[in-house]
Structures are given as structure tokens and as C-alpha cells.
């Protein structure tokens, strides 16, 4: 098991290094699909330059990373200059391995997580066909690593040095901590993830459900244990969030970063095209409806959490997967790095494959759209022979594909659950094969 994993790691590092050294690196790092205003490396460098000039990076509207990130990189550059006797100067290429390392770390985290998931996956063995064999499960961690590390989306966002990799790593650590059952670490990483990009706060619900499940506490409104545990976890989470935000305040000595990071995420002022739904919608929005629709679209991201929590309270990991997918589809500045995060979960649900209805069509849609993004971008921005509607049409199709993919997985999951409790070969009253319908 270890040998193929090492091989995958080596291949992943090689692919990234080769791409980074090639002339494609500049092209990739300027792709709007890969680098959003929130996580573009160019903007981090700009923030550092502003810091060097003695200007607060948050006084302008170019830099939107959190203070911890900027001071982390600031420290790294200072340190690197110290170590290499100042020869590095402005050359920031040494930080590529740093980002790769983060990605590798992420895959390892996923790997461990999978191992734990295997033990967790305990279905009543009604139907032998539907249960995953230990042999299959043994390969899941490897598949996850494969899916994440060799996913072209991840490779691209790494070559572009997008700080999305850092956010993904934090979320991965959070999942790991949750699955290990460490409420404390889980709360800290969740707070960090929330601090980084705000949307992961919806992952509070699946994490809490999972931790409760591990503690064998039933999710009942009347149960005292449930409330005690929930309040404890919420307290840990909010406490660490407050600590992190105060830490940022003391680093920066001002609250400027709150509007500049979270206000920027929520109010969507930057309409640079990306793969999401926001940019063209708000570029074309009538001014007096703008606020209303911003609210609707932002509520939409958080809206699914409670119904999903009710429906999937026995399956918090699947809940987490669906929630991460919803975030990456409906967040205000999505990039392909976010998509890669939930795609890494897909091998986990390989046992749902037989119930998926449109997987072939949807995979084709996603692949074709990914290829068409740069083509139509070129036609619009450089060749001038297409207009913005072409690119917009592709973002619509791409998001539609993602939405249908997730709901297809959701459907398959529910259907398998039904079969697990009712048997795989259902017959009607007259003995013929019965139809299964949603009612």
C-alpha cells in the first residue's frame, strides 16, 4: 500500500515541478479559473509589497487574504532572506515546495482519514452486494490520494501557487481531527477554516453530528447530554475563532481586515470572471435589486445546512461531503482548487456507483466545460470574436453539471440506504419487480 502511494507522491511532485518550471506556469497562474481575487498568489505578493512600503495591505482593494496569511508569508520571506544571506530577494520560487508540501500533507491527512472511515462504515449486512469488502476499502485511501494529487484542478492551483491549497489543508486537518474524535482540535481547525474563508462555518453541523455519534450521544432535543456536548463544542469553536481574530487584530492593530476579507466575500464587489455564478449575475444586475440578490445568493450557501442535518443526521461524513460541495459551487469566488477538495471525496462513495443515474453524461459535461473555459476566455478577452455571454454560458453549464452530480450522489446515497434496509430485490404485490420512486 505504501509503495504505490509513494509513487503517486513522486509523480505528483514531478508533474508540479515540471509545470512550474515550464513556460505554462505564467499562463496557468493568470487563469481566472485557478486564481480568484481571494487567493491569487499575485495578490499575496502585492500585499507583501504594500507591507514593505509601509501601507496597510487592507487600505486598498487588491489584497484580501487574512492577516495571519500575510504575516506567515512575511515571516517566511524574512527568514528565507536570513538563511540565504539575502540572495533570494524578490525571487519567490522557493515557496513552491512549501505549497506542494501543504498539498502532500493534505493527501496524507485524507489517507489517514480514510483508514478511520473504514472502521466506521458499519452497515447492517442485509445485502451482501452493497457492502464494501475490506479489500475494496483498503484501496480507498490510495484512490483518494490519487484523486487529489493527480487531479488536474489541484495541479493547476498548485502551479499557480494559489493559497486555496492552504484553505484545503486546514479543512483536511479539520476533517481528520473530527474523525479522530478530537473535539478540541476539530474546533480549532474549523475556526481557522472559518477565519480563512468564512463559508466553512456550515461544517460545524456535520462535525458536531459526527462527534456526537462517536460519543454515542443520541441527537434528541430533549436529551441533556446532547445539549451539553453541543454547547461545549460551540464554545470551543467560537472561543478559538475569537482568539484568532483578536490575534489578527493585535498583529495588524486595526480592524480593517474584517471588511476587507469578510465584507469582500459577502458583498461581492469584485466582478472579475470566475467559474462561479456571482460575477455575471451581479455585473448585469439592476442596481436597486443588487442588495436583495446578494443576500439571497449568500443565504443560499448556508440554507441547505439545516435540512441536510435533519435528513443526514446518521451520516455526518456524507453530510460533510455534500456541504463542502455546496460551498464550492455557491461561494462568491470559487476556483478549481475548491472543486478539487470535494472531488477528492468521490472515491469514498465508489459503492454508490451502481445507483448513479447520469454519471457518464455529467463527467463529460465537467470535462468538456473545463476544456472550454480557456478557449472561450481566449475568444472573449484576446481574440475579441466572442463576448462575455460565451464564457458565462460555460460557467452556467459547469455549475449545472456540478449541481446535478452532487444531487445524483445524494440520490444514490438515499437509494442505497433504502435498499440496505429493505433488501435489494424488491417485488411488488403481484410478484413482479417493483419500481422504486421518490414520494
Amino acid at each position: 500500500m505504501a509503495a504505490p502511494l509513494v509513487l503517486v507522491l513522486l509523480v505528483a511532485v514531478t508533474v508540479r515541478a515540471v509545470l512550474y518550471r515550464s513556460s505554462l506556469a505564467v499562463f496557468i497562474s493568470e487563469r481566472v479559473e485557478v486564481a480568484s481575487p481571494l487567493n491569487a498568489w499575485k495578490r499575496v505578493v502585492e500585499g507583501l509589497a504594500l507591507l514593505d512600503l509601509g501601507v496597510s495591505p487592507y487600505s486598498g482593494d487588491v489584497f484580501h487574504e487574512t492577516p495571519l496569511i500575510i504575516y506567515l508569508f512575511h515571516f517566511l520571506i524574512e527568514y528565507a532572506e536570513l538563511v540565504f544571506m539575502g540572495t533570494l530577494k524578490r525571487s519567490l520560487s522557493p515557496y513552491l515546495p512549501f505549497l506542494v508540501f501543504l498539498l502532500l500533507l493534505f493527501s496524507l491527512v485524507q489517507f489517514k482519514k480514510q483508514k478511520l472511515l473504514i472502521e466506521l462504515d458499519q452497515y447492517a449486512p442485509d445485502v451482501a452486494e452493497l457492502i464494501r469488502t475490506p479489500m475494496e476499502m483498503n484501496y480507498i485511501p490510495f484512490k483518494v490520494a490519487l484523486f487529489y494529487l493527480l487531479n488536474p484542478y489541484t495541479v493547476m492551483s498548485c502551479v499557480a501557487m494559489s493559497t486555496c491549497a492552504i484553505n484545503n489543508t486546514i479543512i483536511a486537518f479539520f476533517i481528520l481531527a473530527t474523525i479522530k474524535g478530537s473535539a478540541f482540535l476539530s474546533a480549532i481547525f474549523l475556526a481557522l477554516a472559518t477565519y480563512q474563508s468564512l463559508y466553512p462555518l456550515t461544517l460545524f453541523a456535520p462535525a458536531l453530528l459526527y462527534l456526537l455519534q462517536r460519543q454515542f450521544i443520541p441527537v434528541k432535543m430533549k436529551s441533556k447530554d446532547f445539549w451539553v456536548y453541543a454547547v461545549q463544542y460551540a464554545f470551543l469553536y467560537l472561543g478559538s475563532l475569537v482568539v484568532i481574530i483578536c490575534l489578527s487584530f493585535f498583529l495588524l492593530n486595526s480592524w480593517d481586515f474584517i471588511p476587507s476579507v469578510y465584507g469582500f466575500i459577502l458583498s461581492v464587489p469584485d466582478l472579475t470572471p470566475n467559474i462561479g455564478l456571482f460575477w455575471y449575475f451581479f455585473a448585469e444586475m439592476f442596481e436597486h435589486f443588487s442588495l436583495f440578490f446578494v443576500c439571497v445568493f449568500q443565504i443560499n450557501v448556508f440554507f441547505y445546512t439545516i435540512p441536510l442535518a435533519v435528513k443526514l443526521k446518521e451520516h455526518p461524513i456524507f453530510f460533510m461531503f455534500v456541504q463542502i460541495a455546496i460551498i464550492s459551487i455557491f461561494k462568491s469566488y470559487p476556483t478549481v482548487g475548491d472543486i478539487a477538495l470535494y472531488m477528492a471525496f468521490l472515491p469514498l462513495w465508489s459503492h454508490l456507483y451502481r445507483f448513479l443515474r447520469n454519471i457518464f453524461i455529467l463527467s463529460c459535461v465537467l470535462i468538456v466545460c473545463s476544456l472550454l473555459f480557456p478557449v472561450l476566455w481566449h475568444l472573449w478577452i484576446y481574440a475579441g470574436s466572442a463576448n462575455s455571454n460565451f464564457y458565462y454560458a460555460i460557467t452556467l453549464t459547469f455549475n449545472m453539471g456540478q449541481i446535478l452530480l452532487i444531487s445524483d450522489y445524494f440520490y444514490a446515497f438515499l437509494r442505497r440506504e433504502y435498499y440496505l434496509t429493505h433488501g435489494l430485490y424488491l417485488t411488488g404485490k403481484d410478484g413482479t419487480e417493483a419500481m422504486l420512486v421518490l414520494k
Partner: protein, 573 residues
Amino acid sequence: MAGASVPLGLLLLGGGRAESPRDALREELLLSPLPSGDLAATFQFRTRWDSELQREGVSHYGLFPKALGQLISKYSVRELHLSLTQGFWRTRSWGQPYLQAPAGAELWVWFQNSVTDVDKAWKDLSNILSGIFCASLNFIDSTNTVTPTASFKPLGLANVTNHHLLIYAVLPREVVCTENLTPWKKLLPCGSKAGLAVLLKAERLFYSSYHSQAVHIRPICRDASCLSISWELRQTLTVVLDIFSIGQGKKDWSLFKMFSRTLTEACPLASESKVYVDISSKDQENELLEVIPPPLSTHEAAVQGERKTYAVYDLLNPALFNVSRSLNVQLKWKRPQDGSHLSMPVLHAQRYVSGYGLQTGEISTLIYNSHLYRAFPILLLETVPWYLRLYVHTLTIITKGKENKPSYIHFQPAQDRRRPHLLEMLIQLPANSVTKITIQFERALLKWTEYTPDPNHGFYVSPSVLSALVPSVLAMKAVDAEQSPLFTSLFPSSDGTSYFVRLYTEPLLVNLPTPDFSMPYNVICLTCTVVAVCYGSFYNLLTRTFHVEEPSRGHLAKRLANIIRKLRGVPLL
């Protein structure tokens, strides 16, 4: 108390001398042939008013326009500089301008210390000026207003150092035409009825390569002791006429040919009324040009590092009108002039946008120092609108292949829809060198309502401003500012060895990516559909559960079909 009484005493003393004028008008016209063969005509009307304008109770206005006087006292303006310009002064072929202005409208104002809400005063002031000059100055808002820290110093009597009282804005898109000229002429004491202003005919002035009109208001010392202040209003108008196209291929010109008018009298209200003709090229070789009528006097001065000779016609001198009733200054070239002796100006600059596509781009500024042995520093001010996102880490300054580090840099990043980028740098230009300054930017996609009516025409970026003390080749005497002609006195020169130059580069035209303006409804509908598909499919899965479908008796359609089948006698479905 004692301090207040001294100017009051002076005021009384001034009032006591009945013959001493409390305000004065001086009008001047400078005609200078440019190295390229064009002709620059510069009008200047100086109104000086010995009055404490900012005191309450000033109600009697003489020569000073009341509209501007009230404005100054109401908004506590210390200095006001407004210019409206059509065209671009080509420093390279026309030489150093006396007073350059950027293309479009430029307004900069210093407020008094007493102003608390500078932004509000600025907003009101620009709106009122917009009304006075019929210009679109009301489009000045926070997105094109900056507060430079070093580039603009008060030109008049002032000891303010708090640069927050200074506000600067440029509207590069502004088109200047007759409707701006008419209100400007109305501010003149004689209007366009008499004096030099009769030459200001709109159909001639706007048939030109460059037209710039300006209003400068500043406080100056009333006398050498400087105990009290006077207010000075300078109205200047510079026009560059293309002699070739007007004179059918000849470079000879006359006032009548250019303005279709001649001068008959001075403005009766003016205390001085002079026409200067630059005949400096005369003494280079033997008698290249000839001025008719022969001037009664000449004036020699060192202007912007060059020795200049002017033929002077004093309209108040009755001897001038002895021969003919009107003055029609003419200039004749004795032999065809070869335009080869184009002397390179000591400092000039050019700017352009490079890159292709609508995603990113680069602004490059080339600054030339053609002084052979002196290096000097310049202050560069760049104002870039927010929708071109500048990346200051990409700023490079290259001189002679080496990096040139600016000794002072002030960068204020833009805020979306609120504030432009402001970049000010002090750069040392080595002797005889070209300095290239480049900075990269990213083009933003705007909301569809934020585009100008013709979005594919592009968006203007205001010119960058270069301010420098250029070392002079020849030593200049410190001249009495009040007596010297024209613009030598607007910028105070520190000593005789250098002179102040302010240059503006070209405005830039940058294209931005545009959305499709015709389909807001479609986009709203389509995007909402995608969101609704997600909502719908999740709603379905969340609220429903799986059931085994019982074979039913069939729907209505099936039953109807069976009835028909029964009638036809075929097997039922």
C-alpha cells in the same frame, strides 16, 4: 490685536490715497513661433485686487468677477487652479510650454486651515464651478479625486504644509468647446468687446491643434513688505495654430490671418496692455524673420533656461496707432526655414499602454533628461482609476539599464468604486538619460451601469504629472516677478540656476472587458434557474422518501385509451 491693526492701518492708508487703484488689470498676448512651424498664442489677463476677500462684508466688486470672489469667500479657498484643455502639448516638437495643462479638465484647490470638512467643500465647489464654466466638473467625485502629498505646492502666498487641504482632480474625457469659452470670456472686465480679448473668436480658437484655457486664483503679497495680501486672478488662454493649414503652406502669419481680427485699442480698464512677439531666432543667424510693424521696443529675458528676445507692442502707447488705426502684427520669414534645428527640451516624457487582450496590461512612462551634464530629481504623480488594478510590486524604474530606486515613494491603493490609485515618486534622472517606468495592471469587469455610454471606446486614464526643478543652462537673474512678462512669475523660482517645470504626459485610453448590455433579464433568469435547479433537486431528495411503486389502475389517459380500444375491439393496454 496689534497684528490686526497694522493691515487695517495700511488699508486705511491705501484708501486715503484716492488715486491708488484698489484693483488693476494687466493684459498680455505672447506670440511665439514654435520650432515645428506652428504658432503659439498665449493670452494672459491678470486681475489684482487689494482686498481681504475672506473677510466678511466684501460686497463691492470692481474688476474682480463677483462669481469667483463669492466662491472664494464662501468656501474658504486659498488657491484655485482650473484648466480646460483640448489637445495635447507636444513638448518634443513644440518645446517647453509656458504653462502646460493636461488634456481635459484639471482642477486643484488649496483650502484654508479653517475648513473642517474638505470633502464636502470640494464637492460643492466643483459643482458650482461646473455651473460657472459650463463644464462637466460635477463628474468629479471620490473616484477621481486625490490628495497628492508632494507634487502640488501652493503657488501663492502660503505657509501651509498640511497637504490634506489640497485636492486634485482631472477629468481626461472632458471635451472643451465654445460653451466653456464664453463664460470664461465673461469673467474679463472688458468681456470680448475691447482690448486683446477681441481676438478670442471661438471659430478660430477651436480650429487649432491645442487649446487650453485656465483660471488661477491665488493670494499674493500686496507689496514688498508683505504685511497684507492681495488676490490675483489670472486667466490664461493658450492656443497653438497650425500655420501651414491656415496660411496655405506658408509659414508667414499675421494677427488678422490667425484670428480674423486686428487690435484697435487696449481695454480701457487695463493698466497695462502689451503684445509680445518672440523673435529669439533672429539672432541665431542673420535676420531670418521680420516683424511688421517694426517694434518700438524689445525686451530680453531668460525664460525656462533660454535667452529670449521679445518685440513689444504697448497698446497704451499712442505712438503705436499713429501710422495706422489698427495693429496687425505680421511676421515674415525671409527665407524658407529648415526645421532641422529642433532643440530637444531638457525634460520631456511620454507614456503608453502595452500588452494585448483585455485581462492585464502595462503602463510605461518614458522620461527623458537631455541635459548634457546635470542630473536632477523629478516628482512623478500617477493617478489611475480603480478599475485598472495596479500591482505596485511590478513597478520597475530602469535608467540606462540599471534599476533606479526612487528616493521617495507614496502609494495609496485604490478602493473599488471609492478612490483611485495614487502613486507619487521622487526619481533622480541622471544626465542625458532615458528613464523607463513600468507598472502592470489588471482590468476589472464593471457593473453594466458603470460603463460610459460608449464602452468600447475605452476609458481614459488621466495624464501623469511631472514636476521638476530643471537646471538652467544659462544663469538667470532674479527678476522682479511683478514686472516680468507672462508666466515666468507664476512658479516661484528658488534661485537663478534652475527653473520650475510642470509637464503632463498623454492621457491613456484603455479598453475594459464588457458584459453584454442587452441581456440583464436573460442573465438574471438563467442564473436563478441554475440556483433553482439545485434547490429543486435538493428539496425533492430532502422531503421525499423512497417507496415501492404499486402497479396502479392507470391514469386518465390510459383509461381513455382503453375505452377507445374497447370500442374498436382491440386488446386493452
